[in-house]
Symmetry: C2
Subunit: 234 residues, 2 copies
């Protein structure tokens, strides 16, 4: 499936370097980050859906494990190249197709943006991943309500810190950093989606919510939403 994204404004052409194919799952927030990045760059890409639940999870099938021994999505195929880990993929997109940039101009600003992204990608999301919730359920028999408390605990702690970091900085604008979307926004928006899914009260994080709302007015973010994906349930 080819997604149009922001081709008109981005003006990047990936054809010289081989086709792009994203191994994705509609509700994976790590895949959602990369979809936003691809769309912001105006790149055309195919989506190869990997169903993370059906039949025990297609990510564990030998064919997919050969692409990524971590047995996790996303994987971005670029010609013969196999790119793994969502933040590494976003940096790769930014290096290969510099316009529009996903990182700001100075080392100080880039450090801030990367740190904001990593609050989500290192300290919130990995604790609430499907594989972790499956471990809690299957190995320890933790019932659903307690698993949901666990998920909310890590989101709320991370969001408290994020809200403080965003509030305390003059760099925060319509987006996490200034007035252009960056990899921080690519991480933030999917995490807010997850937060709502698990019943986090977003009223406690007005700045996060304001930035998320603004991001979703952009077609690049909107087209990346889980419910807009070809593998989303009808």
């Amino acid at each position: 499936m080819a997604i149009q994204g922001e081709v008109a404004t981005g003006g990047n052409d990936s054809s010289a370097n081989g086709a792009l194919c994203l191994h994705s799952y509609w509700r994976s927030s790590a895949a959602y980050r990369v979809r936003i990045g691809l769309n912001l760059k105006g790149l055309k890409y195919d989506i190869a859906p990997v169903h993370l639940v059906r039949g025990g999870g297609e990510q564990h099938a030998p064919a997919f494990a050969a692409l990524n021994p971590q047995e996790l999505v996303p994987v971005l195929q670029h010609g013969q190249r196999m790119l793994r880990q969502s933040l590494a993929i976003l940096e790769y997109l930014d290096e290969m197709w510099p316009q529009p940039p996903l990182l700001p101009a100075t080392a100080r600003e880039r450090a801030r943006v990367r740190a904001l992204a990593q609050v989500v990608a290192c300290d919130i999301h990995p604790l609430n991943n499907l594989r972790v919730l499956q471990y809690l359920e299957r190995d320890w028999g933790v019932p659903q309500p307690e698993r949901d408390v666990w998920v909310r605990h890590w989101i709320e702690g991370g969001f408290r810190a994020l809200e403080a970091l965003l509030t305390d900085s003059a760099s925060t604008g319509e987006f996490c950093e200034g007035h252009q979307p960056t990899i921080a926004d690519c991480c933030l928006v999917p995490q807010v989606y997850n937060a709502r899914r698990f019943g986090v009260d977003m009223a406690a994080y007005p700045l996060i919510e304001r930035i998320e709302r603004h991001c979703l007015t952009l077609p690049a973010f909107d087209a990346a939403r889980p419910e807009r994906q070809p593998d989303a349930p009808g």
Copy 2:
């Protein structure tokens, strides 16, 4: 405490941009990553120890929470700048002091190195952090042996994938990528330290172990070891 590191070989001079001070804990593997990076760059820096256990954890004191609302180490102070998140800090060091580089030359190689680093920093370490083990103990009463099984589970899964990624690539050399240390090695070595601490059988990961052994022959890695830190127990 000023640490000499690799000043002689690195030849970087941070004085023009303000002093460097790392808020660190001897056994924090995220702080350990940054110590390696600072040493590889040959930068002089002070260490401000933050005791993560004593008195409920100094990272939760208002003075430290003001530096980092996540209440986590490391924080790198560079003059008036406050830098958070170990991977973001390593990228900052590489941008501010480019020699010797912590990332390889091409976008493809950099994507591989960042992905290897993130296998550790996103998918292994965050699950085994002190705050997670404290949650399991205090909120759920999970006893020590089961917490140790949990820790080993995530390390072993991550190391299986890392070993495969390292084995399957012609890029792997004495280090994770070729013959120069990168941010992937900065993440790998502290994670192996953690693995041993929790009783992971490293014989299953010969390539990881070989790279770790080689890294630790370098003064920059050796000086960053937990037991060499000013706040390590005597």
